[in-house]
């Protein structure tokens, strides 16, 4: 089977900002005739930038899960909650659907995203014609679920704002929250800088 006609093979460029198909603009500094955005055949330095972002996210994932995201100070004690212990607190209080939601959004999703991006990067560095559809769908899943990890950050920010009962109880944000937010933002950025077309750039064999 011959290679399918791609934009690249036909000399067509897609403007990522307005989805316009531009014909025959090969020059490095070409602009979209419709929206005047800079045109690139592929996202520039996609693999390098994405790799760096994913590595940073993976490194920050450790403090994000080890450091407390939230210190609950009452007169009696000073309770430090990591993401996981926050989930356990929710579980103990009986609201297991919420606990599950937080567990998935805050622990599973970031981990899954980092792993999935790793797999995608690997297959982009070493393009293989196999299972490209699954990888493409994996990428779309990463893009879709990524934003939901922010959930815990919002919950913490609301708690920290609300629970400020003078000298009775107060919630102090921990650096774990910062690391966690960084993980989420980095993976979101990584998903955006990753050019999924790279997965398909190898000649088709099947």
């Amino acid at each position: 089977m011959s290679n399918p006609a791609t934009g690249r093979s036909l000399g067509l460029l897609l403007c990522l900002d307005c989805r316009a198909t531009v014909r025959g603009a090969k020059a490095a500094h070409s602009h979209c005739p419709r929206c005047h955005a800079r045109l690139h055949e592929r996202k520039p330095h996609s693999l390098i930038v994405t790799t760096v972002l994913v590595v940073c996210a993976a490194l920050l994932y450790i403090p994000a899960n080890v450091l407390p995201v939230m210190n609950t100070r009452t007169i009696f004690d000073d309770e430090r909650d990591t993401i996981m212990s926050g989930v356990l607190v929710l579980l103990q209080s009986g609201s297991w659907p919420i606990a599950l939601l937080v567990f998935v959004a805050s622990i599973v999703v970031p981990l899954l995203k980092i792993l999935a991006l790793g797999v995608l990067l690997y297959s982009a560095w070493r393009p293989s014609p196999h299972r490209r559809l699954q990888r493409s769908e994996l990428y779309r899943m990463v893009e879709f679920i990524g934003r939901w990890s922010m959930l815990d950050i919002y919950a913490i920010s609301l708690l920290a704002t609300l629970v400020q009962v003078q000298s009775f109880a107060s919630v102090i944000v921990g650096w774990g929250a910062w690391a966690f937010a960084a993980v989420v933002v980095l993976t979101l950025l990584a998903a955006r800088t990753f050019d999924e077309r790279l997965l398909w750039d190898t000649p088709q064999h099947d």
Binding site: I75, Q164, V165
Partner: protein, 547 residues
């Protein structure tokens, strides 16, 4: 009239395409319209529910926080502090607060605001709960009808809130004494209220206290109620001796006011804000009011020392008057000094006592009846006399007594002031001198004297001993090398006595002196001994010998 032509089908109008203004407006525009309407509804409702914005002026913003501090009435939140800023004149802080709509009717002119925070005072610790929950602003809703949005916050919580059952009264005093805001008010030693405020009278001639008497005690405040200072420990020394009184432990610390109705006074409740007088003590407060007062002047011969205004005028021990003032007056004609003692006599009391007798009181007017009474008594020998009530303190009083032997006197009603005849008998002067002797004796340090006496004795003994030694020396010189044994010393003393006996002047001097000294010592010892056991004899003398 002609028949109208039958309408032809060609003339019938065709349906016009519907041209509605609304058809051009897609249904989708209903959505933002609904949202905007709902939004406007919410905004209007919130604006209405938001309530009233008020400003409270405080001296400082201690413990207050914008958007955090709440305003509570009876511990129910009715608003919150929105903004705190320093007032334009920099004298305080202006706290802007939002009061809920349903509580806006509380915002009247005399509504009071204060900050509730932990406070420690003599009356106790309050506001401990705010240690945990943080300070808040409490409200006492006033009774005024005119609404207000600007208030001056209290720096200290008010003692009584306007919804506390009870009544407020004004009490006028010469000075504040040990009273303060928060001092307790007692009724028969039960805490019945508090002093809620005081103000200097215009002109500074006194202090008006505002006191609040809680229900149900407020109904015991009647027109005939007397208030008196019950502060601390009331120790009074007068001709009756020493009296110590106190209302309660708290009143010792904080000061207090006690009240009680005069016995026999009307039991009608006094209205709110009735003015009363604060008496310095219970005795003066509970003294019956004299409706009839006759002021006399008395001239005494003796010293007026110890006679002070307020001293009683007694008739056989029954108080019938009071000394008003003691003065000095120069008699220009005679060129002598006179000492007028102005005395208030309450003839009613005498009459009252007399009324107990068989004969009914005279029916004529009190003026003439009291004059007749005084006249008849003076004619029978009633005289005023200065007496010592208490020898120790030297307090004196005026005693009215019958002196049948006294020269006839008469009250000259025509001359003002009326002069009441006095006598100065020897007993009086004798008592005076006895009093002064006793006072002097009192000053004699008997303890020291006996101690000194003792030391004098020892030194005397030592002198004797040295004399003895001297004698022995003398003896030694006469008969040298006498052994120093006790018996020999005694012998030597005997010798010395013998020697002294020969020495006539020494013998005759020393012998009686020693004897007298020993007698004196014995007598003093006996006196000290007796005085120790019967110190009152200093004042009253030994039982048996009446003064």
């Amino acid at each position: 009239m002609t028949e109208p032509p039958a309408p032809s089908l060609d003339d019938l109008p065709a349906a016009v395409p519907a041209r509605s203004r609304w058809s051009r407006l897609p249904l989708i525009w209903m959505l933002p319209a609904v949202v905007i309407l709902a939004g406007a509804f919410v905004v209007v409702r919130e604006k209405l529910a938001q309530g009233t914005s008020i400003e409270i002026l405080f001296q400082n913003a201690e413990d207050l926080e914008a958007n955090k501090t709440k305003i509570r009435y009876k511990e129910v939140e009715i608003g919150d502090v929105r903004d705190i800023h320093v007032s334009k004149d920099r004298k305080g802080v202006v706290v802007t607060a939002m009061i809920h709509r349903d509580a806006s009717e509380y915002l009247v002119e005399d509504t009071r605001f204060w900050v509730v925070r932990p406070r420690v005072s003599a009356a106790g610790v309050t506001g401990l709960g705010t240690l945990v929950s943080g300070a808040y602003i409490s409200v006492d809703v006033g009774k005024s009808a005119s609404p207000s949005e600007h208030f001056v916050g209290l720096e200290v919580p008010p003692i009584v809130t306007s919804d506390l059952p009870g009544r407020q009264f004004m009490v006028h005093a010469d000075d504040l004494g040990s009273l303060d805001i928060g001092s307790l008010v007692f009724y028969r030693h039960i805490t019945a209220g508090q002093v809620v405020g005081y103000a200097l009278d215009p002109g500074g001639a006194g202090v008006t206290l505002t006191i609040f008497v809680n229900a149900p005690f407020d109904r015991y405040v009647t027109g005939g109620t007397r208030f008196w200072q019950a502060s601390g420990i009331d120790m009074s020394i007068n001709s009756d001796g020493i009296r110590l009184r106190t209302e309660s432990l708290t009143s010792i610390l904080q000061g207090g006011v006690a009240f009680q109705a005069l016995p026999g006074s009307a039991m009608t409740e006094a209205p709110r804000d009735t003015r009363f007088t604060l008496y310095p003590d219970e005795e003066r407060a509970m003294r019956p009011t004299e409706t009839e007062i006759r002021t006399f002047v008395m001239y005494f011969n003796g010293s007026l020392r110890g006679l002070s205004p307020g001293a009683p005028v007694e008739l056989h021990g029954i108080g019938v008057g009071e000394v008003k003032s003691v003065d000095v007056e120069y008699d220009r004609d005679a060129g002598t000094l006179r000492f007028p003692v102005l005395v208030d006599i309450y003839p009613q009391r005498i009459r009252g006592h007399k009324a107990r007798g068989a004969q009914p009181p005279a029916k004529d007017d009190p003026e003439t009846s009291s004059r007749r009474l005084v006249d008849s008594l003076v004619a029978r020998g009633l005289r005023a006399e200065l007496k010592s009530g208490n020898l120790l303190t030297g307090q004196k009083y005026v005693e009215l007594d019958m002196h049948a032997e006294a020269p006839a006197e008469k009250v000259w009603w025509a001359d003002q002031p009326w002069v009441f005849p006095t006598v100065s008998n020897g007993l009086d002067e004798f008592q005076d001198s006895m009093g002064s002797i006793a006072r002097k004796l009192n000053k004699v340090p008997f303890d020291q004297i006996s101690y000194r006496l003792l030391s004098t004795m020892t030194s005397l003994e030592q002198t004797l001993k040295s004399t003895d030694q001297l004698m022995r020396h003398v003896d030694g010189s006469v008969a040298p090398q006498v052994e120093a044994t006790l018996t020999e010393a005694q012998a030597a003393l005997k010798n010395a006595k013998e020697l002294l006996a020969q020495d006539a002047p020494l013998q005759s001097d020393l012998g009686p002196t020693l004897l007298q000294l020993s007698r004196a010592a014995k007598a003093v010892t006996a006196l000290v001994d007796y005085l120790e056991r019967h110190p009152e004899s200093l004042l009253r003398g030994k039982p048996g010998d009446s003064p």
